[in-house]
């Protein structure tokens, strides 16, 4: 039978990373449906390691302490987004025609983030290499400096690619689960939208991830709890078009 898939015993299932990355609907369905504590723990650990490694590579442009902070903050953004949107994602799934329970939808979203962060972890040597080859941070470096802009863009490309690929891995499962490609994409787009909405704000609160010229290295600066990501984007757009 096609449903008979050999899976490693779920003791500490590092071997299941490859299963997740292959994203075969049968194995993904088992992973999501049987959300055992060790699998959840594995996902959290994978997010911590994958995103943590990438965070270290991201922050090391400034110094070791920034690398440590970013290595903690990047996994935090992902885990807080998953938890914060868990309830909403669980409600949106049945409303959009997907027969998932709250726990299954939470596990599905956590799984996509796990896949994305495993990819990020794999990208971290590349990111570190890019940082190493970028002009170092000096007293002359300013926010509009080319090297800072280049780093920002590089990280955006890496993180966005991992996120898109991670989410794309869920499509076959959702399609099989709902019996409709349209329902699968609707649910995925809804999840993506709400995760982007909350994730960007949490990232905004936990900034800086690379560097802030105005502040010493600190985990969360006092002024970072002010304002929101979208207000800043809105104001910047308004200034650009209506100076």
């Amino acid at each position: 039978m096609s449903c008979q898939v050999k899976m490693p015993a779920p003791l500490w299932p590092f071997g299941q990373v490859s299963l997740l990355l292959r994203a075969e609907p049968v194995s993904m369905r088992q992973w999501v449906t049987r959300a055992q504590p060790e699998r959840v723990l594995f996902c959290v650990a994978a997010v911590g390691v994958g995103a943590g490694l990438y965070g270290v590579a991201m922050g090391c442009w400034r110094d070791a302490l920034q690398a440590l902070y970013t290595g903690i903050k990047l996994p935090l953004v992902i885990l807080l987004t998953t938890l914060g949107n868990g309830l909403l994602n669980g409600m949106l799934a049945p409303l959009l025609g997907l027969n998932l329970t709250f726990r299954q939808s939470l596990m599905a979203v956590l799984t996509t983030f796990t896949i994305a962060t495993v990819m990020l972890g794999a990208f971290s040597p590349l990111a570190a290499f890019v940082v190493w080859n970028t002009a170092p941070l000096t007293g002359a470096t300013r926010l509009p400096s080319v090297e800072y802009g280049f780093l920002q863009l590089t990280h955006v490309v890496f993180i966005a690619s991992a996120g898109i690929m991670g989410n794309h891995c869920l499509v076959p499962l959702l399609r099989q689960w709902s019996g409709s490609a349209s329902v699968a994409y609707k649910a995925l787009v809804a999840w993506l939208a709400v995760n982007l909405l909350l994730g960007s704000q949490i990232a905004w609160v936990l900034r800086p991830f690379i560097w802030d010229p105005a502040r010493p290295v600190e985990f969360i600066g006092p002024e970072y709890l002010r304002g929101s990501f979208y207000e800043t984007v809105f104001d910047a757009t308004r200034r650009l078009f209506f100076p």
Binding site: M7, A9, F14, G15, V26, N99, L198, Y230
Partner: protein
């Protein structure tokens, strides 16, 4: 490393959620099972709306209608607390009261016209059944708002802009209302109405009433000296004023959330 392999029993694909409107209510035996408790009602509103619609048409639907109403009130109060956490102080109780009262008032004001539109469209529905569908709509809307509550809370703790928070709550409210109205629309399909154009008009009216209620009961997001403002305003002009004030206020001089900031929202 991990040689121990086993073949887990295959996980069956769960039954697909039946698209609404493709079969008469009650065709599925699961829809005949009575809905018990508030949690059961929440679960059904989200996952088995047809079961709710079928049960609402049964003779003893009063309990279910009451349960849906309680859900709507409790959930709107909880979401109201999150809205009030932007300003704290008196808004912690004023915002929940205003949101719950506004929602119920909007539904109450619009219920007679919905019944009239339904009858004009040829729907075979009693007033109690129409009221039941409206409570189901409110319950679904407010349950969804609870889902949005953590997101709204994160934003309310980091931004100081009342216009931005107002816009965010409005967006969440509109999304939740969309799903609520979709529930209502599906329910009316089973009333065998000849035309649904009356219902579409009613939805527009209901939306306008709700939006106006946010202005009539202001301030909901900011603070003010009195519980309600006496000055009459149309919601569009109120929003325009709020946006103008935000644009004229430099970012460094953004008002506090409490105290005198309420005047910004009047």
């Amino acid at each position: 490393m991990n040689d121990q392999s086993f073949t887990p029993p295959p996980v069956p694909i769960p039954p697909q959620l039946r698209p609404s409107g493709d079969a008469p209510l009650g065709a599925d035996p699961a829809e005949h099972v009575p809905i018990n408790g508030l949690i059961g009602a929440i679960e059904c509103v989200l996952r088995q709306p047809r079961r709710v619609m079928f049960q609402l048409r049964q003779p003893n639907s009063g309990y279910l209608i009451a349960a849906l109403l309680v859900i709507a009130v409790v959930c709107s109060l909880i979401y109201g607390v999150v809205v009030g956490m932007f300003s704290y102080g008196t808004q912690l109780w004023a915002a929940p009261v205003k949101i719950a009262a506004g929602l119920l008032l909007s539904a109450l004001i619009c219920l007679p016209s919905l019944y009239i539109f339904a009858c004009l469209g040829g729907a075979q529905a009693r007033l109690v059944e129409v009221a039941g569908l409206v409570t189901g709509q409110l319950a679904l809307t407010t349950v969804l708002l609870i889902g949005f509550a953590p997101v709204a809370w994160v934003f309310s703790q980091s931004t100081e802009s009342m216009a931005a928070m107002g816009g965010l709550h409005l967006a969440f409210g509109l999304i939740a209302t969309y799903f609520g109205l979709r529930f209502l629309d599906t329910g009316f399909v089973h009333f065998n109405a000849r035309s649904s154009s009356g219902l579409k008009v009613w939805m527009l009216v209901f939306l306008m009433v709700m939006l106006q209620m946010t202005t009539a009961l202001r301030p909901i997001v900011g603070t003010a000296d009195s519980f309600l403002q006496t000055e009459k305003k149309f919601f569009l002009s109120h929003w325009t004023e709020c946006l103008k004030q935000r644009r004229e206020t430099p970012p460094t001089a953004m008002p506090d959330r409490g105290g005198q900031s309420g005047s910004q929202m009047r």
